[in-house]
């Protein structure tokens, strides 16, 4: 596909993605992808472990981060009202959006009101979630991604596959090729003699984007944190593209999920210590910007903040699942997940992949609505590595299990699944000693037949059925009087029927 890398014509979309097992199968067959992912996730895991070990009170910090988020969420209305009041007092215009469409409309209207046909963007999960670029494109407004990984994804007409590093599935030689092929169509071309050295690739991005930064009149950002008490917004980044967008244009629109609020300025301490170490494995990320409304003579003089729901209140109403809204988007859970490491992010069919995506998507969209979302709580081995690294202690495995039961509940009433029939049968069998005795006599035959017929093949296809013992426990007991006969084949002989 050689589509021009024009944000107005991008065709990549998560809409219509198949359910996780189908998408994962395709990803697993891509050996280049698996190699890229293994290399990247292991690099970042080691870095994270090193800098986390430096902090003596890391566990206490995690506990404080979780408690702060829980306390804020429990009283979210109060904090949102305070935030709105302080933002307004500091000179920002506050908008509220029930869903993606309303949020996109606000941004498009602001651009329109200034007669603009392009905006520069700071990497933002919220704007990716609401499909802002596509919505702006439909209005004839080009949205230029300025984060290096987002640029790689946009130029490659690709989809993001990681929260922190959306182009994690690409290696340096693929990135070089994308730059050589696509930069010219979007602005300043890549140098013809571009090598695949990361430093050279970064330099090419610097030159390519600088002309866009210097001419941009409007920027769109998200926010990592929004301080209620002061009306301060915070963006945490590495490259300086965030600073460019937050500083140079005249107009700035920030799309902020309602769960991003923290009560006080001092509370930033906990999160600014937890986030960089968990995310990029650094003591601190290169740049953090904070701004409180308009500063005369410095930075954008027109500020808009869009407070976004888009399913967050649905997640908030879920008593087990609401802890997912503590998430500070560090992506540590992706980097340690054995499933993510093998399938990559695309298989999750969402801008939020990995363990956190497997709970956030069903919590925000609801279960029983589409097959793809319902498949996500099963995209896990429940090993618990995600919980262990989570800087705000989200118990992802417990939420996954709870969501699985919600998915099952949502599908009651239709045709019963093989699993449901099997469980019902097992219940009846174990409920009666007569039926159990009967069943034991046929276990050997039963397992062989089930194997041949391919019943429940999705389960048995990747698992060996154990061989049934030649003699059941109760038959052995009857024959030997509970082992007191010291008959051959009894316990202690080493060849008993119980041993398998």
């Amino acid at each position: 596909m050689t589509l021009a890398p024009d944000p107005l014509t991008s065709a990549a979309t998560f809409v219509g993605m198949p359910a996780f097992p189908t998408a994962a199968r395709a990803a697993l067959a891509d050996s280049q992808l698996r190699h890229n992912l293994e290399h990247a996730t292991h690099t970042i895991r080691d870095k994270r472990a090193r800098v986390v070990a430096e902090v003596d009170d890391w566990e206490e910090l995690r506990t404080r981060g979780a408690a702060l988020k829980d306390a804020t969420l429990a009283d979210l209305e109060t904090h949102l009202l305070t935030l709105e009041e302080r933002l307004t007092a500091a000179g920002a215009t506050v908008h509220w959006a029930r869903d993606a469409e309303e949020a996109c409309r606000v941004v498009a209207d602001v651009a329109r009101s200034h007669g603009l046909d392009e905006v520069v963007k700071v990497k933002s999960m919220a704007t990716a979630e609401i499909g802002l670029n596509e919505a702006l494109a439909a209005e004839g407004i080009a949205a230029w991604e300025t984060d290096l990984a987002e640029l790689i994804v946009q130029l490659g007409d690709d989809l993001p596959s990681h929260i922190l590093v959306p182009a994690i599935h690409r290696n340096r030689s693929e990135i070089r090729q994308i730059f050589l092929d696509k930069m010219a169509g979007a602005g300043r071309p890549a140098p013809a003699d571009l090598s695949q050295e990361p430093a050279e690739l970064a330099a090419a991005a610097r030159l390519h984007l600088r002309e866009k930064f210097l001419r941009a009149r409007m920027a769109v950002s998200g926010a990592n944190f929004a301080v209620a008490e002061t009306g301060t917004l915070v963006v945490v980044e590495s490259e300086g593209n965030g600073r460019m967008c937050l500083t140079l244009p005249e107009v700035l629109v920030s799309v902020v999920g309602i769960e991003k609020v923290v009560p006080t300025f001092e509370d930033l301490d906990v999160f600014l210590r937890l986030l960089p170490r968990s995310s990029t494995g650094e003591r601190m990320n290169p740049y953090t910007s904070t701004w409180t409304g308009v500063s005369p003579g410095d930075g954008p003089q027109e500020l808009h903040v869009v407070l976004l729901d888009n399913g967050r209140t649905r997640a908030l109403a879920d008593e087990v699942g609401r802890q997912a809204l503590r998430c500070i988007r560090c992506s540590a859970c992706l980097n340690v997940c054995p499933v993510y490491e093998r399938t990559g992010g695309h298989a999750y069919g969402s801008v939020y992949p990995g363990p956190i995506g497997a709970i956030l998507n069903p919590l925000m969209k609801g279960v029983g609505v589409d097959e793809q979302t319902d498949s996500l709580p099963y995209a896990s081995s429940l090993c618990g590595a995600c919980y262990e690294v989570c800087p705000v202690k989200i118990d992802i495995p417990s939420v996954l299990v709870d969501l699985r039961s919600q998915v099952v509940d949502a599908h009651r009433g239709g045709r019963p699944s093989v699993e449901a029939v099997a469980m019902k049968g097992a219940g009846a069998t174990f409920g009666s000693s007569r039926r159990l005795r009967l069943a034991e006599r046929f276990t050997g035959i039963g397992t062989r037949v089930a194997g041949r017929l391919g019943l429940a093949s999705a389960w048995s296809g990747a698992r060996d059925l154990p061989t049934a013992p030649t003699e059941s426990f109760r038959a052995w007991w009857r024959r030997t009087g509970g082992g007191t006969d010291s008959a051959p084949g009894g316990p202690g002989s080493g060849t008993g029927g119980l041993d398998r």
Binding site: A40, T43, Y287, T288, T292
Partner: protein, 199 residues
């Protein structure tokens, strides 16, 4: 119902039974930091960092900047107590456009706070620190941090900052980990960060 009222009503309904856990917010007295650790941690980011006495500062700056054309923000020489210092390539910021900043070589600023534990410098863009754009567009940032501005950790820095002001936290030169999660210095912000710790 407006979007605002609707979202707030949903929030209210969703949290009707939620109980906030008790929160303890420790009262933070900003602690001074270990200047040697600060220097070491700044250097870890592959920034250039050096120490000098207040008497040596003028000569150090003159040598670091040389003939380069650098923005000198209002109030810098006063804040640094270097009233007599002459930098031959100094350019005053009289509202320079971004394209003009892009043609300059660098900028020299003071700082607000240094954080020893993380090797971070915080600017609040007050006198001698310039507006945000001047420490962003040029490729070299020479930043002077006084030893008594160095605090122990993040909480000590947060306690010293005025939330009403814009802040820029800087930890080394601009960098990215977006290619195979390998850190590379030098993307959009200044590719060279030169820190002079005084005192």
């Amino acid at each position: 119902m407006s979007a605002r009222d609707d979202v707030l009503a949903r929030v209210r309904a969703a949290t009707a039974t939620a109980v906030a856990p008790p929160l303890e917010r420790p009262v933070v007295q900003s602690r001074p930091g270990d200047v040697d650790l600060f220097v070491e941690r700044v250097a870890d980011y592959r920034a250039v960092v050096e120490r000098c006495t207040p008497e040596e500062l003028g000569a150090r700056l003159a040598e670091v900047v040389g003939e380069r054309r650098v923005v000198v923000p209002d109030g810098l020489l006063e804040v640094l107590d270097q009233g007599g210092l002459v930098l031959p390539g100094a350019v005053a910021d009289d509202g320079l456009a971004a394209t003009e900043l892009d043609r300059l070589d660098g900028v020299v600023t003071a700082a607000t706070v240094g954080i020893a534990e993380t090797g971070t410098i915080v600017l609040d863009h007050g006198p001698g620190q310039g507006r945000r754009a001047v420490t962003l567009v040029p490729d070299l940032h020479v930043c002077v941090v006084r030893a008594d501005q160095v605090v122990a950790d993040v909480q000590d820095a947060v306690a010293r900052l005025d939330p009403a002001r814009p802040h820029t936290w800087i930890s080394g030169p601009s960098a990215t980990s977006d290619i195979e999660l390998d850190r590379v210095e030098g993307v959009h912000g200044p590719r060279q960060l030169h820190v002079v710790v005084v005192g």
